[in-house]
């Protein structure tokens, strides 16, 4: 299935994500390599990979209208930024948007922007991901 450059502007939505300590604990164990007895004061910034990207990226990767070759896909760049400190108990509703879709010299460049709104409807968390797909040769 070839990559479809017309996927630019394609949008993905997901239900509200609770920033709960249990899910964060599993994430923390994975990134620190051990179960920590103490709970951090607030969720780690890269936990956004779970609540902001987690519900969106699988939709992108399985989207037949985009046609990404997962076997040759690499994560090129990542940025998370926040409007305020998020705490446990906050809930974020993510929306994803393809903001770049191009092919150059046989390499696919796809940029995904994700924004998360809190319960009050304010944008609080953002993500920019650049994915690259290498030529299979």
């Amino acid at each position: 299935m070839p990559f479809n450059r017309a996927c630019l502007g394609r949008q993905y939505t997901a239900p509200e994500q609770l920033l709960d300590q249990e899910r964060h604990g599993r994430y923390l164990t994975a990134v620190t390599g051990s179960a920590r007895p103490e709970t951090p004061v607030r969720p780690l910034a890269c936990f956004a990979a779970v609540y902001l990207l987690g519900p969106i990226v699988p939709q992108l990767f399985s989207d037949q209208e985009v046609g990404l070759d997962l076997a040759h896909l690499l994560h090129g760049e990542q940025e998370f930024w926040f409007e305020r400190p998020l705490g446990f108990g906050d809930a974020v509703t993510p929306v994803g948007l393809i903001t770049r879709a191009e092919e150059r010299r046989g390499m696919v460049f796809l940029e995904l922007r994700c924004d998360g709104r809190d319960q009050a409807g304010a944008e609080v968390a953002h993500s920019r991901s650049l994915f690259l797909v290498r030529s299979p040769s």
């Binding site: 910034a45 896909l73 990542q78």
Partner: protein
């Protein structure tokens, strides 16, 4: 002394007691990250699939490598600062089982901002994270 107070005591580019990065990303940890994040791309989990894709072995998720590098700094600074931005370029894949190392440094400090740079290298000395920065703001 809190993390941000420690940062403020040192001008940029001065050696500070920031925690060094030294973590081995085993296949077990990669699998744990896949479970925690929901990213089950088989290039991270299935050696045969990874080799067929032209990789030497399974590789760590880029976001795991970034998360590992950022976590120690955030935990070090927590209580006095929150992270307003974290960013990086994934320069090279990190094969499973390799140790990732790095020495963070202070790029900039101010009244309401500290920017740390997080270098991360694989066992060959190749940079796996480049332009990796973490912005801290006081609470």
């Amino acid at each position: 002394m809190t993390g941000l107070e420690r940062l403020r005591r040192f001008p940029p580019a001065t050696e500070t007691p920031l925690p060094e990065l030294r973590e081995r990303l085993t296949q077990e940890r990669i699998a744990a990250y896949a479970m925690a994040s929901g990213d089950h791309n088989p290039i991270h989990l299935d050696p045969d699939y990874a080799r067929a894709a032209g990789l030497p072995s399974t590789i760590a998720h880029g976001l795991l490598t970034l998360g590992v590098a950022a976590a120690e700094l955030e935990l070090w600074a927590q209580g006095s600062a929150w992270t307003s931005r974290v960013s990086c370029r994934f320069s090279a894949p990190l094969p499973s089982g390799q140790e990732v190392t790095g020495r963070p440094r202070v790029l900039e400090t101010g009244a309401d901002l500290a920017i740390l740079e997080m270098e991360a290298l694989n066992e060959s000395g190749q940079r796996v994270l480049s332009r990796a920065t973490l912005q801290l703001r006081p609470i």
